[in-house]
Symmetry: C2
Subunit: 363 residues, 2 copies
Amino acid sequence: MARRRQAVTIKHVAADAGVSMQTVSRVINKEPNVRPEMQARVQESIDRLGYHPSIAAQRMSGSRSYLILALNDRERTIAEWQSRQGSDWVDQMLLGGMLKCAEHGYRMIFELVDTHNDHVERELKAAIAALQPDGVILTPPHSDNPLIVGLLDEYGIPFAQIGSSGGEGGSAGGIPLIMGDTQASSNATQHLIDLGHERIGFIKGPDDYVLSRWRENGWRSAMDEAELSAEGLSAQGDFSPASGRIAALQLLDLADPPTAILASNDHMAISVLEVAQERELAVPGDLSVISFDNTPIAALANPPLTAIDQPVAETTSRAVELIIAAKRGAKRPDSPIDIPSKLVLRASTAPPASATTRRKSGT
Amino acid sequence: MARRRQAVTIKHVAADAGVSMQTVSRVINKEPNVRPEMQARVQESIDRLGYHPSIAAQRMSGSRSYLILALNDRERTIAEWQSRQGSDWVDQMLLGGMLKCAEHGYRMIFELVDTHNDHVERELKAAIAALQPDGVILTPPHSDNPLIVGLLDEYGIPFAQIGSSGGEGGSAGGIPLIMGDTQASSNATQHLIDLGHERIGFIKGPDDYVLSRWRENGWRSAMDEAELSAEGLSAQGDFSPASGRIAALQLLDLADPPTAILASNDHMAISVLEVAQERELAVPGDLSVISFDNTPIAALANPPLTAIDQPVAETTSRAVELIIAAKRGAKRPDSPIDIPSKLVLRASTAPPASATTRRKSGT
DNA sequence: CTGAAAGCGCTAACAC
DNA sequence: GTGTTAGCGCTTTCAG
């Protein structure tokens, strides 16, 4: 007996409470201008009848859809899921975003879209038309995609840009959120400097991620500040283990190789670990390693990696909050929200073995 | 300029193509009784205008919602996300389910509900009323929850029960899918027996998961068949590392301890590994270990664990297919769909060290 | 502060 | 084959 119609509707509640549908609607939406006694009576009916509004109907009548769309890069996300390397980016988004949505009666829907594809626009339009989301959460590398940002602005849909500083002028509806990449990168580098390292290598992320630049900048600025040369100590990677291996080889083959390496993500750091092992370099004895992201493999690596933890859950949670607030008419923050990343100390960092034998001034 | 109304509706398309809305609707839904030339003309308008139907409106008019609800256990799922141990159950569900949904124009929405809570019913009713999903995917331990199953049957919503054999009579709309637990467990045990093990311990999962029993049964039957005693070789666990430790201790403290242990999930197996290390038992030299699930930590453990891989993505994908088929009126399969789990051989299993010194007949 | 009327975008049920 | 009519459940006007 597939009764496809709503079991109990606003009409039933109205009849039960002896009021108009309108009043019930007001109670549901916590609108003012309802006498406490009315509100109580209606609420009682709602509870007793087990009434829950249909978001489809709410959406139809021009109100909210209570849906927030989270957009991730299709190719990379699927690759991560299939590789089963334990990256929990999506899980952390769910943890932060879904739970925050639930608190407000919203729901989060995940969608994968191709960045490098002419279809982005079509895909996004389709998703918006189909779902009519109240907000959209963009993740790298979509966060700075002008096509996506432009479309969202045009539609007037509030959206969060995780991992984006919002470009130059910012956009009408975009709320940029960053995870302190530059600062964290600089802190991590400083940590290595404090340990006594002077030759600190850096493995960059791919250029289509803005945060690749931030991470590099943080490293470079800490090196500069300590008056250490960064010359030749940066190698290009693309987040893949293979690229990490190539970069590690490049750095360790240097005439004066680094005693520490900061890798732009965990996978590349693991590759560094592997290369070190092949070369019989002890970690952290001969080589210290720090990675970005702190996905589960960082803790499970051998040795466990000191890593910069990305507060993905917290950031997503804030993104949801800000979108919902924007819906309610709150004005957007005028500078990017910055949720700081913390350095998690584990076993892959130590003072350089040859600390005293090297040409230098400090300890 | 927040235009909350649909940008281009079926009306626009109808006007543009010079036909009635109904005809457009028929084209969208690929219904018969439309002349090819009409269908082409309408399709042309749809494409040119960039029209996409609103699922809210489709739902409102009594048709599908194109939404499939996936229900997971709240407490356990959140604990997994927070522990950051790399369990990718949810990711694999997304991989299998989301992609399959997308193929058919559906969307999957995740929702967490408390099993051990009086509110299950209320929560589920709320989700159904709000979303009007076309189908629901149940995961353990919800799959066999009579309250949930009963409610879904009553509402006439097709649903998949992952990890359930469907109980006695089965239910009207329930489609049980299992992942070959018994067989896999028996195979894994047999693998150890083939290796020469005779004392094979088993660490059970919690009783509120049916699959705990299946896994135990598989082990027990393989032991029986090989005429090996299982007496005292099973220890209770609850999937947590702590419980795995206690169970490992219990088994290894036996007067005649096992030379191999089959743990009902990866976490408990890791605990076994830890206990072994503390006791200076080499794995796999002195003790072989096999785990269930094969989440990413299994491969990352030291040594990497031989594990029984749960085909979560494939199962979820099939679940979605079957739900959509059921919607289209296909009759449900009359026995549980069984997607076999495969044993992934890694470095935690080997013949027992003392193989020749033990009382026995074989090699 | 409360109610009545109109309509959102779409499809089921009928006519033609 | 195609068009017309009515209505899904809710919220927006706008009256009172």
